[in-house]
Amino acid sequence: MITLRINGLDVTVEKGTTVLEAARFLGFPIPTLCHMEGLSPYGACRLCVVEIGQEPRTRLVSSCTYPAEEGLKVRTASARVLKARKMILELLLASCPQSKIIQDLASAHGIRTQRFKQEHEDCILCGLCVRMCEEQMMAKAIGFRNRGEKRSIGTPFDVKSDACRQCGGCIYVCPACQLRCTYAEPEKAICGGCANLSPPCVEKEPFDDMMCYMDPCVACEIDKKIDKR
């Protein structure tokens, strides 16, 4: 067992626990975007940064990936942390303003405006979908491509992947892509199941209800009804 001190409170956790888990155990709120229980920690969105170490030699680390260490001093809401978090939210708002999740986070942190040129991107590359596909759906249909400003998520060579069962898990976990789910451009959407009268999901045999996240998609129901006729 490891004991660490978060915001002045000692907490004892099992080896391998992350700082985020320990802080949440104590009830300290730490915002996250790329973190999800059941998926491996990734540390991409940087929203969950906390300040660790002893003054004056402290530094910011992402709490979702940082393992609890014996005697570690953690501050989850220091001035430095809040300054960084606000700037990150401002950057997020500047790139992806239509996301309800980002809007709510920004609002909660008192961010009303952003000072950059407004963009309208539908992906923040948090990687939740990639991990969902790989770790929960065992499909590995999508992944990251390229680097830097050209980095994107998709299937290899943008060809429809055979590994994809079109479960929609990727869309379910996405914090940014509500737009994509409005099936305004169905050919662009990964699934588009709910908008499609002959949904592709039902054609695939190994697909069962347990793995479908597309609530309230009624594709299966419709399909079953058609069958009955």
Partner: protein, 1078 residues
């Protein structure tokens, strides 16, 4: 190659090789590093081989092809042994001569390396300043070893360290020795290597441990790792073997960039050789120790230099860092303990064991042991690889090894550590280069890139360039690194386009700090450094871009427009009249010139041509368009009457204005004030208007009839000229205001010479340059006699020299300057012309005392000629000689030039009959302060730079009186601006600045010039009077270009204006094409 089965056998092999080597055998060494190959060393090698075989010299002279020596600027070069002669930038034909000279023990003088500053040739390579000031413990092996011959390495003491480690030490001792040496990681982080190894040694090695050599060198401008891998790959193998023995690692991996083909090739050969010799693999040299190495080629992602990303890349995954801990030493490749060190660190390991840790630690400073290789690039004379002890000051590297600035530019900063490093300004060049000092100054050591920057580098552009690199090379995993670099780049782009505000600077700073704080790996954490360090040290440049919308380095295109136009204080559309000349429309060209400049014929002769220094041709290393010569061509071929200056009609408000001083500033002000409708009285102390144009500039540069004609064309009925009225003596500001004048423009120039402040300066025969030039230009008096010495290096010194040589009683003229000719502030072409005319130039000398004739006699100096003094002063004699002391160039002073330092004991005497002191001028302004005008310490008048208004209402000033001695064109610009301001003042309007930076507006078709023609074209130089016929007369020296030459020259113009004026491509067409394809 026989396998060596014991340490003894290796030792034996070495002694055999050592005996066979003959140090005194003639050998020619050709560098075949990548840089030298690019500049043609392969041809040199072929030429050398052919000559040796053809002439039957095999066995008499050896040829060695080695890796990089570091002096890449001079490639391809040849080093001869045992002479150690260094032949720089040799050609194919030079090789036979070099080999023949080597065999007969002689030198090919003209091919030896020549110091560009002093012209001195060096016989021994190690005397060359570039090499002399280095300490090359790693790089020195490169020149002795053919990288593909393992025996070369063994003969040079290679694998001796391995031998001693394997035979004498236990693994623990090896790690302790490295720890004691104080070696720190050369990749940039500076983590103590010994400590890293200790951690690795402590990990249990059941599943195996890894050692990695990080050769993913990705910094723009840094290539020391490549040079080591190419030139001496066995040193890496030996280092890693020692490391493996000490830490218990079983597997080594060298991660090399695939873009380094020569390094990959040489390393592969070296690995194969080492395996065959039994140095790698199972049971190294017959001992129980086993270690093998492989090579992995990286695909060129910058982020793969980061440890955790590198590990993922080695495992075949996407190069993307992960959170540490766990550190690679705990969990690395395949989850096994891994220690990663940089190429240069590994190359240092054998050295530690060869020298002993204590001796190794003696080099460098405390906490920063050993040497470090830097790649010195950018705006510096000697570029190349430089190895110096840690703690060497930046100054020494830049000025002593690097040779200082190129041309007359001033070095302003150095960028260290590649894209994630920072810029250090030149006033901090005392900083020792080590990990801690650089970090404190806001930069990093990085892998050792050093980019020198001068006045022509825009710091905003530097930050923008690096941010562009980083936004592409960030892996993109961390949101703040990916988006942060993009946003920083976006803001920097806006700043460089003049679209940003001061708020953007704050946002940039805030964002940079957060990016530094919140990213996961080293790339993101240092990505802000270029921005933060430039903001810290060069905030004024950012503010200049943001507030004034100016880029002083002429780099940011959107703020500069056409550089020639932006450089001109008058904003003359040089590009436009050059284009008009090309089309043969000379009259139009004249109108363009005259519209901006009331003195076209004067400026066509004596302008300092700021347009040409900023010409895109010149900036990119070529020859500038001869703009002034083209202007001369136009002004000579078009009658000035074609242009009628438009009167600016404003109802009412016309007043009387006094302009004091009828130099270029005063005349320009009077001209424009008259156009604005005012009555102007021009007050001049001398007999006729013209100011310095008349009194200072000699008529062989500016014929008097041309000048008088131009001045007359500016005077009109509303301008009254009152000559012979000296301001201060005959008239004061108060009197002018009491008279009818509503405003006064002061432009009395700067014609009071500085004195040397030496004893004996008032003796006859000693004149200030102003005295001498005025006497000749205004009155025709020839004061110079016999042997003439002139002290100074500015334009008035050169003018005085060239005037002196034209005077009848003069035998010879010597210019004495205290720095080198390269640093002379006078125009290069003037100096050249002076030398042509037979004027001797003594540089690096400064006078210590001027002796009277009597004193000279009493000290036993033989005086050759007596010259009768102009005025006999019975108490003092006449000047006899001056005593000078020789200088050497010392440290860099505030002006960015190297300070002259006297060499004790180098005094010498120059017998002289006339001495002209031309060390600078200041305004004769003592009369101004009592009139209630505020002065500066240097004796110039203080004015508001925006409005030219002096401290007293209604008084404006411009020209040399405000700036100190300056150029004609600046004075005209000041006069023009003053007229605008005075007009606003007398009409009771707010004093507001003129709109600045004019962007090119008029589109003109560019001529069709083929690439071949463009390549062949050379700058048109005007014909000059032959030097012989220039002496003893004042005929104009420079002639106008012929029409043919002018058109040819105009065709060379790169037409920078087209970027702004070219009509947009037919957008409809573009759309429809796109539409079709979709």
């Amino acid at each position: 190659m026989q396998q060596l089965s014991s340490i003894g056998e290796l030792r034996e092999l070495r002694s055999v090789l050592f005996d066979a080597a003959d140090e005194n055998k003639p050998r020619i060494v050709v560098c075949a590093g990548t840089a030298c190959q690019a500049s043609g060393s392969n041809v040199i090698v072929r030429a050398a081989k052919r000559h040796i075989i053809e002439k039957g010299l095999v066995g008499k002279v050896a040829l060695a092809i080695t890796g990089c020596h570091g002096f890449c600027e001079m490639g391809p070069f040849v080093l001869t042994e045992p002479q150690q002669a260094f032949y720089a930038q040799v050609g194919f034909d030079d090789i036979p001569r070099i080999i023949d000279a080597l065999l007969s023990g002689e030198y090919v003088e003209e091919l030896l390396y020549k110091d560009p500053a002093t012209g001195q040739r060096y016989y021994k390579r190690d005397d060359i300043p570039f090499f002399k000031n280095q300490r090359r413990s790693i790089l020195s092996l490169n020149q002795k070893i053919d990288p593909i011959r393992v025996f070369d390495y063994i003969a040079q003491g290679g694998y001796i360290a391995l031998e001693s480690v394997l035979s004498q030490r236990d693994p623990h001792g090896v790690v302790q020795e490295v720890k004691r040496s104080g070696l720190r990681g050369r990749g940039g982080g500076g983590f103590p290597t010994g400590a890293k190894w200790e951690m690795l040694a402590r990990e249990s090695g059941r599943g195996g441990k890894f050692l990695v050599c990080n050769a993913d060198e990705g910094d723009p401008g840094a290539y020391m790792d490549r040079s080591i891998l190419e030139g001496n790959p066995h040193s890496i193998i030996e280092g890693m073997l020692i490391g493996a023995y000490g830490t218990g690692a079983s597997q080594g991996i060298v991660y090399v960039r695939a873009e380094y083909p020569v390094a990959v090739k040489h390393l592969n050969i070296a690995l194969e050789q080492a395996r065959r010799l039994g140095l790698l693999g199972e049971h190294v040299l017959g001992t129980d120790f086993s270690f093998d190495m492989t090579m992995v080629k990286g695909a060129g992602a910058f982020v793969c230099g980061e440890e955790t990303a590198l590990i993922r890349s080695i495992q075949g995954k996407m190069g993307e860092p992960r959170q540490r801990p766990p550190f690679p030493v705990q969990k690395g490749i395949e989850g096994k303990p891994t220690s990663i060190n940089n190429v240069e660190t590994w190359a240092n390991v054998p050295l530690i064991f060869r020298l002993g840790a204590d001796k190794f630690a003696q080099v460098g400073t405390e906490n920063n042991a050993g040497t470090k290789i830097f790649s010195l690039v950018g705006k510096v004379k000697n570029t190349g690889l430089v190895e110096v002890p840690m703690g060497t000051r930046i100054k020494e590297i830049v000025y002593e090894i690097g040779g200082g600035a190129v041309g007359k530019a001033r070095i302003k900063a150095i960028q260290t550590g590649g894209p994630s490093g920072g810029c250090i300004p030149s006033d901090m060049f005392d900083l020792p280069v080590d990990y801690d000092s650089l970090a404190k100054a806001g930069s990093i050591m990085g892998s050792g890139g050093m980019i020198v920057m001068d006045d022509n580098t825009c710091m905003v552009d530097v930050a923008r360039y690096f941010m562009n690199f980083l936004k592409e090379e960030s892996c993109g995993k961390c949101f703040t690194c990916r988006k942060g670099t993009q946003r920083m780049h976006e803001i920097l782009e806006d700043i460089s386009r003049g679209k940003a505000t001061l708020k953007h600077l704050d946002l940039l700073q805030e964002l940079a700090e957060v990016v530094k704080d919140t990213t996961m790996c080293g790339l993101g954490q240092t990505a802000s450094n270029p921005v933060l360090s430039t903001l810290r040290y060069f905030r004024h440049e950012y503010e200049r871009h943001v507030i004034d919308k100016k880029c002083d380095a002429f780099v940011c295109k959107d703020l500069v427009g056409a550089p020639c136009q932006a450089a001109c204080p008058l904003g003359t559309e040089a590009w436009r009249y050059v284009a008009l000349i090309e089309k043969g429309e000379y009259v139009e060209a004249y109108k363009v010139i005259r519209e901006a400049n009331p003195f076209p014929s004067v400026c066509a002769r004596v302008c300092d041509r700021k347009c040409e220094t900023r010409c895109s041709h010149a900036v990119s290393g070529g020859e500038a368009i001869a703009v002034r010569s083209l202007k001369r061509f136009v002004t000579d071929s078009v009658a000035p009457e074609v242009y009628v200056a438009p009167r600016i009609h404003v109802n009412g408000g016309a007043s009387s204005v006094a302009v004091v001083g009828a130099g270029p500033a005063g005349l320009a002000a009077a001209h424009y004030l008259s156009l604005y409708g005012h009555k102007v009285t021009l007050i001049e102390a001398e007999k006729e208007p013209g100011g310095m144009l008349m009194s200072c500039i000699p008529s062989y540069r500016l014929p008097r009839e041309v000048l008088r004609k131009e001045i007359q064309s500016l005077l009109d009925p509303s301008i009254t000229v009152r000559c012979g009225t000296a301001f201060g003596r005959d008239i004061t500001v108060d009197e002018l205001f009491k008279d009818v004048f509503k405003a006064v423009f002061l432009a009395i120039g700067a014609d009071k010479s500085y004195r040397l402040e030496l004893e004996g300066e008032d003796v006859k025969g000693v004149y200030s340059s102003m005295q001498m030039l005025k006497a000749f230009n205004l009155r025709g008096d020839e004061v110079a006699r016999g042997r003439v010495g002139i002290i100074g290096g500015g334009n008035s010194a050169v003018d005085a020299a060239r005037v002196a040589i034209r005077q009848k009683g003069v035998d010879n003229v010597t210019l004495l300057y205290r720095r080198t000719s390269q640093e002379m502030p006078a125009y290069a072409e003037e100096i050249e012309a002076a030398l042509e005319e037979g004027i001797a130039l003594e540089t690096l000398v400064s006078p210590v005392k001027i002796r009277y004739m009597e004193a000279a006699r009493s000290e036993g100096v033989r005086v050759e000629t007596f010259v009768s003094p102009i005025k006999i002063d019975t108490r003092h004699g006449h000047l006899a000689d001056i005593r000078c002391i020789r200088n050497s160039l010392g440290e860099v002073d505030a002006s960015g030039r190297r300070r002259p330092v006297p060499i004790p004991g180098s005094e010498f005497t120059i017998p002289l009959d006339t001495l002209i002191v031309a060390i600078g001028e200041r305004p004769d302004s003592d009369c101004l302060a009592p009139m209630g005008l505020e002065m500066t310490k240097s004796g110039t008048l203080r004015v508001n730079a925006e409005t030219l208004a002096a401290s007293r209402p209604g008084v404006f000033a411009g020209g040399d009186l405000v700036t100190g001695p300056n150029t004609v064109v600046d004075a005209i610009a000041a006069g023009k601006k003053a007229a605008y301001m005075i007009d606003r003042y007398v009409r009771g309007k707010e004093l507001k600045g003129l709109p600045e930076t004019k962007m090119p507006k008029f589109f003109m078709d560019p001529p069709a010039v083929s690439d071949a023609d463009a390549e062949e074209a050379v700058r048109a130089e005007p014909v000059t009077l032959p030097a012989a016929s220039r002496r003893k007369n004042t005929a104009e020296v420079e002639m106008a270009l012929s029409a043919e030459a002018a058109i040819r020259e105009a065709r060379r113009c790169l037409r920078c204006d087209l970027d702004f004026t070219r009509p947009r491509e037919d957008s409809e067409n573009a759309c429809s094409v796109k539409g079709k394809s979709a």
